[in-house]
Subunit: 346 residues, 4 copies
Amino acid sequence: MIYFRSDYSQGAHPKVMEALANTNLEHTDGYCMDPHCENAARMIRELIGIEDCAVHMMVGGTPCNVTVIAAALRPYESVIAARSGHIYKHETGAVEGTGHRVTAMDSPDGKLTPGLIDLAMEEYDDEHTVLPRMAYISQPTEIGSLYSRAELTALRKKCDEKNLLLYVDGARLGSALTSEENDLPINELAKLCDAFYIGGTKNGALFGEALVILNKAMDDHFRFMIKRQCGMLAKGRLIGVQFEALLEGGKDSIYFKMAAHANSLAKKLRDGLAGLGVKFYSESQTNQIFPVLPAPVVKELEKDFFFYEWAPEKEGMIPIRLVTGWGSDASDVDAFLQKTGELLGR
Amino acid sequence: MIYFRSDYSQGAHPKVMEALANTNLEHTDGYCMDPHCENAARMIRELIGIEDCAVHMMVGGTPCNVTVIAAALRPYESVIAARSGHIYKHETGAVEGTGHRVTAMDSPDGKLTPGLIDLAMEEYDDEHTVLPRMAYISQPTEIGSLYSRAELTALRKKCDEKNLLLYVDGARLGSALTSEENDLPINELAKLCDAFYIGGTKNGALFGEALVILNKAMDDHFRFMIKRQCGMLAKGRLIGVQFEALLEGGKDSIYFKMAAHANSLAKKLRDGLAGLGVKFYSESQTNQIFPVLPAPVVKELEKDFFFYEWAPEKEGMIPIRLVTGWGSDASDVDAFLQKTGELLGR
Amino acid sequence: MIYFRSDYSQGAHPKVMEALANTNLEHTDGYCMDPHCENAARMIRELIGIEDCAVHMMVGGTPCNVTVIAAALRPYESVIAARSGHIYKHETGAVEGTGHRVTAMDSPDGKLTPGLIDLAMEEYDDEHTVLPRMAYISQPTEIGSLYSRAELTALRKKCDEKNLLLYVDGARLGSALTSEENDLPINELAKLCDAFYIGGTKNGALFGEALVILNKAMDDHFRFMIKRQCGMLAKGRLIGVQFEALLEGGKDSIYFKMAAHANSLAKKLRDGLAGLGVKFYSESQTNQIFPVLPAPVVKELEKDFFFYEWAPEKEGMIPIRLVTGWGSDASDVDAFLQKTGELLGR
Amino acid sequence: MIYFRSDYSQGAHPKVMEALANTNLEHTDGYCMDPHCENAARMIRELIGIEDCAVHMMVGGTPCNVTVIAAALRPYESVIAARSGHIYKHETGAVEGTGHRVTAMDSPDGKLTPGLIDLAMEEYDDEHTVLPRMAYISQPTEIGSLYSRAELTALRKKCDEKNLLLYVDGARLGSALTSEENDLPINELAKLCDAFYIGGTKNGALFGEALVILNKAMDDHFRFMIKRQCGMLAKGRLIGVQFEALLEGGKDSIYFKMAAHANSLAKKLRDGLAGLGVKFYSESQTNQIFPVLPAPVVKELEKDFFFYEWAPEKEGMIPIRLVTGWGSDASDVDAFLQKTGELLGR
């Protein structure tokens, strides 16, 4: 069975495992109050070129999103997201569990736009309505698309106009940063938002995301919020150790190399399938692609390959999701293309 | 200033005031544990022809909706509603405040349909997604439209298929029941849903709604939920006394007479405006109508009449909401029609 | 059956009913945005001699408490209360329902003290512990005792030292203010706390409490919080009209007269029972008293009188609660004393 | 610096690290839907001798506690705990964050007793009060004491009588099970409670706790609850792999050996300090001990040893907490005893 199921189907990059092994017998204080978390934070500040920000080591994406939102919003406030956004679509109502609405806006390409924010704000009127206070986006989006620098700049401007915080879910940030089509480096991204996170789980860590809070007000008593939202890890240093290993070398680190590798294999897949005449559910520029294939072909492929059917069958066709990861191999891609070609008779 | 602002701009029908005065010096136990609440519940059971149901006297519509939803859903479950539904649009996130998503579906006529429910259910997949468990509708809807018997029957069927509870917000139920176009009497409505409420506030009470729970499972420890959601009134009998007065005489009671009166004045307004060539934002069959008028006309009308602008100006036109109530007078309608005619130059 | 069950077993003082009748046909805007609420707020500002404060008309005590607490606290913060305090003992966890702990402290006389606050603060350490941020007290307490001016001043000082807000539940504030033993007039009370409410329900209103927020920061978006906590009344003016009637004449208003009347009858009961050798569960100075009587006497009294057993029988004795109200009569008291005397054989 | 700070100051037992390394490149499905989690669950079912139970791999103790409680309770229900219990004392109100009260009972030895449950139940009366529905205990308790088989049996009986679920926090369960004074083996424990967890974090895992739910009703949609409470780990297999390694060999596994080792060092410390005339804050039978030492001695010890001061200084004495772990060494204990002896002049 070849896995295109997710970018978290394996363990961690060997260098991450090595770092964990090397530090295993150290004694440190718990809960991320240790030299490794401190050092990883320092490396991140350097990477983004901003000294004055808070960095928190978080266990996973959902706890990170939920804690940020619950910490930043007053009870009557909401967060605006694309209806395909992770906090709306795939977190089992965890945000609502903290008492806040996700104001979900239909978006064909998975991106939030100034226009969609205007539309969302129309739902706000007075004390009888929810007050939107944050815009949530993912870079790249959940369907693989990218915000350009111009798009994010426009979004920032709109957020300022509407008194919204701007938060970027970077579960696959590495993939965005290393996409050929990306024009938004991490230091520019950091300047344009109030908070974002650098995803580890989906790019070679066992687990862990590094949350960067640029807006001081959002950091108030944040560690209380992490604990209250059940996201405080006893051996918190594990996240610090992993990010040290991931980011060692900055732009030349394995973090960027792994993501670039996954992107290139996804591109190979995409180009190969396009060459077979396959259409796509969304236009992805990163390590997730969404080809639409005849149902019988999908069922046949499932015998050798493990992947998600992304949406229900319509008119005989099924959109599937193929994800490449740091551990994916070019031969996996070749095998998929060959089998698909055969099945399609091309 | 003539009020078409709402159907709750005045106090209560004189017979309600009289009942409150007559019982004022009685001593009773608190929290709706009194003979008046008991008697009102009996009258309601008789009215709907169902003996085996729970009746709770609630302070208002929002507390009623929120308590029902919070009582019925498990933490990961959501309630489906039209995006124009009261729980989504005008309750400041009170449902989300109890930890539940309102799965909001765009609906041009303010109604939920089996098709929209199918669409909402597509968002559900597994433990990573919210599980819809209730459909919320208002009869009439927030923009004045009515569910027919056939429509509600179809909705019930779809709810059964999808394991959804069906809850009907009856804030203006009197207006629905007495609409000329209504084919869904209250006893039929009661058979088709799991719970609904008979609105008092917007039909001649000082305040108060009578919640009817047909589905036993939804009534489990319900009084604990009322108190926990801050909806328990110390002098709960006040609601019982009011409903006794409102429903005295059953189908011939002032409850039905007041609603019919308000409907007839709304129809007069609607017909009059249509006669002036005015278009409407929605097709209402009840006591709220939504004419769309040129902005300068609206501004001029606001000098003599008090009403809501319902949506932002678009292309020079503003949709407004005109609501008639039990205390509205035919002369109010005449005055509005005359002034509007003058302003439109017709 | 003679009622000593509560001070909310009857409707409203006749002057309140009259005011409601007189204003019944007026049209006003809803949700407390009307001249009566505005006027009542003005009267309250005058009564306390403080111009610069917010006044909100609330439906009841629990919604008032819960909204204040939920509005003032950040998610990880708690409110300290006596274990006999209403928010801990009799609100079905409504405060916890908004996500906040009630840090409950044992208190023999129902009062919070600087020492108890110190004890509560010992539970706070760092981000692994709840952070207390408010002290909740009731004046008078739930068991009838009173804070003296010196006690409240000391509490204020301790709250300042510990960065706690001080909130006073005034469900029976009238009874406190008119107690012979009270040395804390309302204007002094107002200066010592961040927020308090003037209870209407238990002193001659149909319902309604007037919340006074002295601390500006606590008033931020407060109307959003009222709505979100389901406490916004459509015909909000009803509360304003009632408080106008209750407070007409300031210190000479029926608000103070009714409370003084109830207190004097409670005192008559207390003195009479003491004269019969009866002991008390708590030392009350207001309109609730808690005599401890032999179980058979209690059971016999329950045939003619309606009251609460306050705590379980212990060693053959049962503490009961007797409450007098604005509508209680001296003859009620005489009847109780005579019957009790007979039963005790004294 | 020698660490007696916690039993989670180091990484994982080498065999755990080895297992993680050995399985690192495997591809598996995410979210604990993999063969390792399945196998670990099977091993646990074998260990407790109960086939018919649910086993969930949880990230940490707080998420485990909070998810169990939020899943099991209806909104108006509370969980009873000792005031020293972890959910009350050290989880920053995370339980309250899900809307539930922790009914906290003072307990000198950190244990909940049938008598304390009776006392807690006295706070319950009717719909105006919180309804306790679960008893939470830790085995061993947060101050190191143990429930005997007789005590837990009595607690179970009381829980049955009061309709309470019984949940056991086993953060340090290994330490309890291997204590010389323990008479409650894991299979007996499992029979007496509705759910419990086997702690990994504090006994040689990087992180992870294995939750065992014996009571079917509590398992309803539990994975939805894990996700909604932000506790679902993408690479969930990591927990499964670790528990495979920890429990390999059952009673002879490193899980039991590590705990026994920590216990024996704690006993050595305790006996040594007792020999120096030191008194203890609590009587511990496990790997945490709480000696009370003169403040200057504590300050001096802190130069070489890292530990918690457990409670504020009183009359010149400070209770401290010393914890031994799988990686503690006899020489650490010797060093502490020698230094303390010197400082005490004994």
